[in-house]
């Protein structure tokens, strides 16, 4: 038991460390922040259903598990898929850089000069960073001198970071534009049919956006005002599916 807890603790710590701002783990940071955002959104909306007085208790028994299941499936598949993609691209980047040979120095020099130029003259000027980079990347801080090992390491880190971020972006695009609509719309169809079966009046309602169980609003059947939160009430009541997205 204690060993299990220790293992879990280590796992959580490892995940937190992965989320920490290590430039080498840029893709994982983006992935974790996005997944936490999706988790907040799904949890908030499911909680809204749970505490909503206007939703009937017998419907809640179905809606809450459906909301949790949809949220878990959506976030879980997105997270695992993107994590795999990031790992694969990071490995590819490491291998690519290792096989660069003599080209590495040239590429790193170009990249270092570009970064210094951007820090000195870009829209968001960072003079302190520019000075630090000059001293760290070039011998004697002179751009015409040879490049240092730190510059080569920085270039390697940047290639790895860029590859992992590309993976995170690809995962986000696939996850949010393809995976989410499929999971949301298909699960919504079954939820909606079940709702209509239990509440025949719903069939007379005008066509609404899908009733998404993981993004449930309040007052689906009995459109009474949600106490005290005017904006939330307006949002949820007007659309009947208060989809919230962080």
């Amino acid at each position: 038991m204690a060993a299990d807890m220790q293992k879990t603790g280590k796992g959580v710590w490892e995940l937190l460390r992965k989320c920490s701002p290590n430039p080498k783990d840029a893709g994982n940071t983006l992935l974790c922040l996005n997944a936490i955002g999706m988790l907040f959104a799904a949890a908030s909306n499911t909680t809204a259903t749970a505490i909503d007085k206007n939703t009937r208790p017998e419907d809640k028994k179905f809606l809450i598990p459906a909301g949790v299941a949809t949220g878990v499936a959506n976030i879980g598949i997105y997270f695992l898929m993107t994590r795999k993609l990031i790992k694969y691209l990071e490995k590819s980047a490491a291998n690519y850089v290792d096989n660069m040979g003599d080209k590495l120095a040239d590429k790193a020099t170009d990249f270092a000069k570009r970064a210094i130029n951007k820090a000195e003259k870009g829209i968001f000027k960072k003079p302190k960073l520019a000075v630090a980079m000059k001293k760290a990347f070039f011998e004697n801080g002179n751009l015409s001198d040879s490049i240092t090992e730190t510059a080569k390491e920085a270039y390697k880190d940047n290639v790895k970071a860029a590859a992992s971020v590309a993976g995170a972006f690809a995962g986000a695009v696939i996850g949010c534009s393809i995976l989410t609509p499929i999971i949301r719309d298909v699960s919504a169809y079954f939820v909606q049919k079940r709702m209509e079966k239990n509440n025949p009046d719903l069939k007379n309602e005008p066509h609404k956006p899908y009733y998404d169980p993981s993004r449930v609003g309040t007052g689906l059947y009995n459109r009474k005002q949600f106490p005290s939160m005017t904006s939330y009430m307006a949002f949820a009541n007007k659309n009947l599916n208060g989809r919230m997205k962080v």
Binding site: P21, P23, T180, R223
Partner: protein, 211 residues
């Protein structure tokens, strides 16, 4: 030796290798990707959501209608309304999301930079070693200073991104919700004008309650 060269050759032709090769050939792309924050991710994600999402909704609606042989076509109609909603959600959510993330990141970066300067090397070392996994020992002064500044910037970016998530738990209800409704209302009108069959609500209870 032979095995290594074969595996390297195979690897060079792989999808990952090609992707990394493409990125390194374009230094601007490499710098942009490596320096990306949650703002860039949000923009990329929402742009695809606004374009691919609605098409997916309509496609899935049609597929479900076909598979289940639904006679009244409710799912198909709902999917059209959902498509407009997805678009509005992506556009409205992005505008508010980018502004809030930008403000949080700018504030967090400024604070991290200041904290780094004030706390001196000890805190910088602690952050680097414990969290970022970068060992500063053995580095010369110049390299160490560069790493500390770039770490402070990275910390700002990520702490800002995390704080933005918490801030947006509130702003989603206060700003996003009415704003998305506004876009949705106008987008629905626009879709009607170009001929999509979105049925008009049969009663106006919603509008009354909102007022």
């Amino acid at each position: 030796m032979k095995v290594n060269s074969i595996s390297n050759q195979n690897f060079k032709g792989s999808f990952g290798e090609k992707t990394v090769g493409f990125i390194t050939k374009h230094p601007a792309l490499l710098a942009t990707l490596a320096g990306s924050s949650v703002i860039a991710q949000k923009v990329v994600m929402s742009a695809s959501e606004a374009t691919i999402g609605p098409a997916m909704d309509i496609g899935i609606g049609k597929t479900i209608t076909k598979i289940t042989d639904e006679k009244d076509g409710r799912t198909k109609q709902s999917s059209k309304v959902q498509a407009v909603r997805t678009f509005s959600q992506a556009v409205g959510g992005t505008i508010v999301g980018v502004v809030i993330r930008g403000l949080c990141i700018a504030a967090a970066t400024a604070l991290c930079m200041k904290a780094g300067e004030k706390a001196g090397e000890k805190l910088g070392d602690k952050f680097s070693d414990k969290f970022a996994g970068i060992v500063n020992k053995g580095l010369n002064e110049n390299s160490s200073k560069y790493k500390k500044i770039s770490n402070a910037s990275a910390w700002g970016k990520n702490i800002g991104g995390a704080v933005a998530l918490l801030v947006m738990l509130v702003t989603n209800f206060v700003i996003d919700a009415p704003f998305i409704n506004f876009i949705n209302k106008n987008a629905t009108k626009f879709v009607k004008n170009i001929g999509a069959k979105v049925k008009k609500p049969q009663n106006s209870d919603n509008a009354k309650e909102v007022k």
